[in-house]
């Protein structure tokens, strides 16, 4: 594979968001070094400003349909990449706003915190655009590098260190698997770009290679059986980092999974559908059942996140254009509900200092606003109308039932009921139990912004989803050519459907 590096300025326009954010990252670090006495809050707003500008640029790209490829197809900016970049930047902005207060808990390196968050976001933006196995690997490791540090940021806290270590060891292991998978795939096909592999024959080496790649990405999204790092890491990491970890990397990894499964492996759908159905069923069921026994809200949200990923994989198993739309839509719903729920967790832990579910007793009396917001976010995660999560789940189920995945939908529907149980346990604590300490809880302004954005998103997507469905449908348009025709999937779907 050869490609020339004679880039024109108009080509570089496609890279403008990344280039701008890289420069902005340097500005943030420089400002922190140059004036160490500057309140760290300002750095947060400085980072948010840069991210907002990048977001605006991407929105402009989306509206004017600025798309294209660079570096011999290594880097692709299509509308799906733009969608995921907006998704990642949106979650980053909300996470930074939610961490302003929390950062005071760090003993050292408060300024670098923001720089590291922006750096991870930058890595994930490259992930969203990665179109061949090498750029996937590089951008994946680039974004994870920032997370390794962020997770263990509470350096005096044993739990945070444990979380970091666990995340690091398993993450490096996953990276090893990924590299090995790439070598096998390249050895079999001699290709690295996804779209070139579409016609490759299914040799054992190729299958094992892709299985290894799937394992590494499964680690990123936290699907069972690659989930073992999730509960401890979510529990030990600083809560804003947990929030970040639970949303943005999952989105970025799903962008890659979509490209691999739909573009590179679209013709093998009858084979990989079994893998996805199995992983999806196990993730949903395991995540929801284990979540019941949790006593810590962060662990509860961690297991609920595992279950949510199982739901997302239903859409991937459908393997159609509509399935992809549904995944993107579901991620939007998940973004607002999850960031909102974590924002409430941060606000409560700022006031109480602990994250046990027990501590949520009487939150409805101590802070009606926080309790009401948490109620809506949890119900959205559970999938209750008229909230975003309900439409997201239904979208995925409709996409799946069109492909005849009856078993998967049945399991998904049963899991809605199971998940309702543990979400309602938290609701019971907040509203029905009486508070131990009835003093009201105060919320900072930036935190309020995050919660309001979460509420607005959760309600708006649930009540009027048309603009959002239009957006996600447009975002996956380029997959229309790659999606396997419906006729070829009949035999497996009959088997699975029973």
């Amino acid at each position: 594979m050869t490609f020339s590096l004679n880039l024109s300025l108009s080509d570089l326009l496609l890279l403008l968001p990344e280039i701008f954010l890289t420069c902005w990252l340097c500005v943030v670090i420089t400002v922190d070094f140059v004036s160490p006495r500057l309140p760290k809050e300002r750095l947060a707003y400085l980072s948010v400003g840069g991210l907002l500008a990048t977001l605006g640029c991407l929105a402009w790209f989306d509206m004017n349909q600025v798309t294209g490829t660079l570096f011999g197809n290594m880097f692709v900016l299509d509308r799906m990449a733009i969608f995921f970049k907006i998704f990642i930047l949106g979650s980053t902005i909300l996470v930074i706003l939610a961490s302003i207060e929390y950062v005071d808990r760090f003993t050292l390196f408060r300024g670098e915190y923001y720089a590291l968050v922006v750096m991870s976001a930058l890595g994930m933006m490259f992930m969203a655009s990665a179109n061949d196995l090498l750029s996937v690997f590089v951008s994946l490791e680039f974004s994870t590098l920032g997370f390794y540090i962020l997770v263990s940021y509470l350096r005096d806290d044993m739990a945070s260190n444990e979380a970091g270590l666990k995340f690091f060891i398993l993450g490096v292991f996953a990276a090893g698997l990924f590299a090995y998978g790439i070598s096998l795939v390249y050895g079999e096909t001699g290709k690295l770009v996804f779209s070139d592999m579409a016609s490759a024959p299914a040799t054992p080496g190729l299958i094992i290679g892709f299985l290894l790649i799937f394992a590494a990405l499964g680690f990123k999204i936290g699907a069972v059986p690659f989930h073992s790092w999730i509960p401890d890491t979510y529990h030990g990491a600083p809560t804003p980092v947990t929030a970040f970890l639970s949303i943005a990397p999952k989105g970025a990894a799903l962008a890659i999974l979509l490209r691999i499964f739909i573009v590179a492996l679209g013709t093998f759908k009858p084979t990989w559908i079994y893998l996805l159905v199995a992983v999806s069923i196990i993730s949903m069921t395991y995540g929801n059942i284990v979540a019941i026994a949790q006593r810590n809200i962060k662990r509860l949200l961690a297991y609920s996140g595992i279950a949510q990923i199982g739901n997302v994989l239903i859409g991937l198993a459908a393997g159609t254009k509509m399935g992809n739309d549904a995944i993107l839509f579901y991620l939007l719903a998940y973004l607002f509900a999850n960031i909102g729920a974590f924002a409430v967790v941060i606000a409560v832990s700022q006031a109480i200092g602990r994250d046990e579910i027990e501590d949520y007793s009487g939150l409805g009396r101590r802070s009606p606003f926080l309790a009401f917001s948490m109620l809506l976010f949890l119900l959205s995660l559970a999938g209750v109308p008229p909230l975003a999560g309900f439409i997201g789940k239904l979208y995925i189920f409709i996409a799946a039932i069109k492909e005849g995945l009856y078993t998967l939908i049945t399991v998904g529907l049963i899991n809605i009921v199971i998940s309702m149980y543990y979400y309602l346990i938290v609701v019971k604590k907040m509203y029905i139990n009486e508070p131990v300490d009835p003093s009201p809880i105060s919320i900072s302004g930036s935190m309020k912004v995050v919660i309001y954005v979460g509420l607005a998103g959760t309600l708006l997507i649930g009540i009027y989803p048309q603009p959002f469905t239009d957006w996600v449908v447009a975002a996956t348009l380029m997959f229309a050519n790659f999606v396997a025709p419906a006729a070829t999937v009949t035999p497996p779907s009959l088997l699975i459907g029973g």
Partner: protein
């Protein structure tokens, strides 16, 4: 305003709930005022559609259609027929009454009214949905407010307080909570209600999704599906697909009705709920089940309904007898009324199972009648509980000295519940009995036995509460004297007796909805009446309303999708 009446009914409570968010709990008058005026708007508009509904024309009237999601084929498609109209009216009457019944609520009154309004609006939404998606949307939406209403403002049963122990408090969280069947705490009741109803609701959702998939029409529009969906004779798992869908839909929705083996959440829920919630719960929430079965199973799968509806005929006997006997032996006022409700819902299933013009009309009128009767009883049980803080019948007695008005109304409520001539319940019961006799004589005999049982347990409870020696502990109890306290009871009594004496308009409206449905299911058109006497008006017979004719008035034809047009 005429065409938009359904929007007013549906969105006034939502608007009220939204408005209440911005009001402080320190202004109780304003809070109640907003809630009451939202309910009032809904009530007036419901009365307007009830009397504005033209039974001669029949079909779906006051239709509103807004495109909601093109990709999924969903539209906010509202309209009422002869079956939905009385139920919408019943819901808004009970909402309005419920707000006055809970007038004296002190603890977090604002939140209470918010959830009550959302509950009622979601219920009303189901009764007017012509889109399967929105039917399910509102159905599921009505379940969650119940959790908070029960949990926050409900009450424990007597036994629960004896069983409470320090260890038990911890056990009732997470895993231990599920296995703690012994304690009927309000938390337990709320959780059981939500999980039970959600579990069966997702079964119904599976049925709806299968209808969506196999109709291949890419729409959730009930009117299009019932004309064009061909779901018959698709072999699946040794049976046919339509049967599987029917079973999923029937039992999914029958759980809220509640039909016999699926009833266990309901009395527990009634007992734990505050008075206004019990009223809405027993009065209209349970009817969501019957209504959704009629709307989904009867409309879309008429052939299968004819084949499988005997299931309901068998189960309804158990509902009637089991509910009646438990109510007779129950010692808790709300358990008695709760089990009586689930017993009476058996009559509705009997009326539906007979698939006959008279019996199904009777079933629909019974839903309306039962809403009024059980609403009264729960309102009064709530009043007695507020005054005495107990629901234990043996410890009460002689309250008629202290509350003559309530005890007088209670007699009327009991009479209505039994089906005394002069109340609308009588009209409904006689229609169910007459209509079902030819097909299910055994069930009719059981139903008569059920009426005797009703008499027995309601009189037993009335004697236990209001007559006999008075427990001096409750000498401070006082009667409902204020207008605010008397209004809801008087309103429900007036409506119950009013329609009992003048049932003709109600009957015409219901018949206009039932006739085309039964004609589709049984392929038998009713004997045309000449326009005089008991029966359908001459010009409104099924010949005019054959199912081939689009049953839409003042709206776009159901078969020509025209999502952006608003009917003017």
């Amino acid at each position: 305003m005429g065409e938009y009446a359904l929007l007013y009914i549906l969105f006034a409570p939502f608007a009220g709930a939204l408005g209440l968010i911005f009001v402080s709990n320190r202004q109780p008058t304003l809070v109640r005022g907003i809630a009451a005026s939202a309910a009032f708007v809904s009530l007036v508009a419901s009365l307007y559609i009830f009397y504005g509904y033209d039974p001669v024309q029949g079909g779906f009237q006051f239709v509103q259609k807004f495109a909601w999601s093109k990709e999924l084929g969903i539209a906010l498609y509202l309209g009422v027929d002869g079956i939905g109209t009385p139920l919408v009216l019943a819901s808004s009457i009970l909402l309005f009454a419920g707000i006055f019944v809970s007038w004296h609520i002190k603890d977090r009154a604002k939140e209470f009214y918010i959830w009550l309004l959302i509950l009622a609006a979601a219920t009303i939404g189901v009764f007017m949905s012509l889109d399967l998606f929105f039917l399910y949307f509102f159905y599921e939406m009505s379940v969650i407010p119940m959790y908070l209403l029960l949990g926050m403002w409900g009450s424990h049963t007597k036994k629960y307080l004896e069983m409470t122990d320090p260890e038990g408090l911890k056990q009732r969280d997470s895993v231990g909570f599920i296995f703690n069947f012994g304690s009927n705490s309000k938390e337990y009741a709320a959780m059981k209600l939500v999980l039970f109803l959600s579990a069966f609701a997702v079964a119904a959702l599976m049925g709806i999704l299968l209808i969506y998939k196999f109709s291949g029409l890419n729409t959730f529009d009930i009117l299009v599906l019932r004309e064009q969906a061909n779901l018959m004779n698709i072999p699946v798992l040794g049976t046919t697909l339509d049967k599987i869908i029917w079973i999923l839909v029937f039992f999914g929705f029958a759980s809220i009705a509640p039909i016999w083996p699926l009833h266990s959440w309901s009395p527990v829920g009634h007992a734990a709920a505050p008075a206004a919630t019990s009223m809405l719960h027993a009065g209209v929430l349970m009817k969501l089940g019957h209504f959704s079965i009629i709307r989904v199973a009867f409309e879309i799968l008429p052939e299968t309904t004819r084949e499988l509806m005997p299931i309901a005929a068998v189960l309804c006997m158990f509902s009637i007898i089991y509910g009646g006997f438990v109510a007779f032996y129950a010692k808790d006022t709300k358990y008695v009324i709760g089990y009586s409700s689930s017993s009476h819902m058996g009559y509705v299933f009997l009326g539906m199972a007979a698939l006959n013009y008279i019996s199904l009309s009777g079933a629909v009128i019974y839903m309306f009648a039962h809403a009024m009767a059980t609403g009264m009883l729960f309102a009064m049980a709530g009043w007695v509980y507020d005054q005495t803080h107990t629901r234990d019948i043996p410890s009460l007695g002689g309250l008629s000295n202290k509350m003559p008005f309530i005890s007088g109304c209670f007699i009327v409520g009991c009479m209505a519940s039994i089906g005394m001539p002069g109340t609308v319940n009588f009209v409904a019961e006689i229609m169910i009995v007459v209509g079902s006799w030819n097909k299910y004589p055994l069930q009719v005999i059981v139903a008569m036995l059920g009426i005797v049982l009703t008499l027995a347990y309601l009189f037993k409870m009335m004697r236990g509460l209001f007559y006999g020696p008075m427990n001096q502990k409750y000498s401070h109890a006082h009667d409902a004297v204020g207008t605010v306290d008397r209004l809801p009871l008087l309103m429900m009594i007036t409506i119950s007796i009013g329609f009992g004496i003048f049932p003709m308009h109600l009957y015409d409206v219901v018949r206009s909805g039932v006739d085309p449905l039964i004609a589709r299911i049984t392929h038998v058109v009713p004997v045309a009446e000449t326009g005089k006497g008991f029966g359908v008006r001459g010009e409104a017979t099924a010949a005019v309303r054959a199912p081939e004719v689009p049953l839409i008035v003042n709206g776009p034809s159901s078969l020509t999708p025209d999502p952006l047009r608003r009917s003017e």
